[in-house]
């Protein structure tokens, strides 16, 4: 899928999630990520980042999924890494599950998201997963 289309979906999703769509001079997702990258402040509404990625994936696929997301934190700040788990509600299959060498499987995937390009890559990854499923 074209990068521009993914960025547009991310910006639309972010405007809905952050309430920026009601503001006169709304902050874009790219700008939000820029300030997150600078400060990684513990008071930052950091979950807007994974929610934006998830909403963009749902908008681009026209489908809803079950999600779980985790914003990783070190002793002081957010690290900028996010764990995602995605489940297809129709089949209940965990799309992010991956077989490991033992009798179990890995359940989550982790993405660093500090720039808009990182978010685009995360969306592309989930779009591939949905397509493969």
């Amino acid at each position: 899928m074209e990068r521009e289309k993914i960025i547009a979906a991310l910006e639309t999703a972010f405007a809905e999630i952050s309430g920026a769509e009601y503001e006169d001079e709304p902050e874009t997702f790219a700008e939000f990520l820029e300030s997150f990258k600078k400060f990684r402040d513990p008071d930052f509404p950091v979950y807007w980042i994974p929610w934006t990625v998830e909403e963009a994936v749902e908008a681009l696929t026209g489908r809803k999924f079950g999600w779980h997301e985790d914003a990783f934190k070190d002793e002081w700040n957010y690290t900028g890494e996010f764990g995602f788990i995605c489940v297809d509600p129709e089949t209940l299959r965990c799309l992010t599950a991956e077989r490991t060498d033992d009798e179990r499987c890995a359940v989550s995937v982790v993405f660093p998201i500090l720039e808009i390009e990182d978010a685009v890559q995360a969306v592309e990854y989930f779009l591939r997963l949905v397509q493969q499923a």
Partner: protein, 147 residues
């Protein structure tokens, strides 16, 4: 849900928790101390990032022991700006089928569907562990029955 609805007793759950604890002690080559002592220490220092947090491991080992097979899982230690809240959020997947065993959905208004893929609970004491193991078993058992 009540324990009476399960095909296992509270006693079996407590035994599985104790076995999980003993296993962890052995693996860590740690001196013998009780889970109650550990939990006392845990209550004081749970927000210390260096504190080894074995709670999710104890919970899932006990669940696997009762279910009778290995499961794949992810556990988030839920934090607010002030630190760890004491809440654990588990996503459990059947490694054979890769199906999510903790998925639930409901609608409050007949239109919007709320989807949850995790089961969460707060652990501040031994009873909290028993409650969370029970909650996970209830959910997993019903998901496996539907499969």
């Amino acid at each position: 849900m009540q324990l009476e609805q399960l095909p296992y007793t509270e006693e079996q759950i407590k035994q599985a928790i104790e076995e999980a604890w003993q296993e962890l002690l052995q693996e860590a080559d740690a001196e013998d101390y009780s889970l109650e002592e550990y939990l006392e220490h845990y209550r004081k220092y749970w927000d210390d990032p260096d504190f080894p947090n074995d709670i999710p491991e104890i919970i899932m080992r006990a669940v696997e022991e009762i279910v009778g097979r290995p499961l794949s899982w992810y556990c988030e230690l839920v934090r607010d700006p002030a630190g760890f809240t004491g809440e654990y959020s588990f996503v459990v997947v059947d490694p054979k089928t890769q199906k999510c065993l903790t998925y639930r959905e409901y609608t409050s208004d007949g239109v919007n569907v709320h989807r949850f893929i995790h089961v969460a609970g707060t652990v501040v004491d031994y009873e909290g562990i028993v409650r969370l193991v029970t909650k996970l078993l209830n959910q997993i058992q019903s998901a496996l029955a539907d499969a």
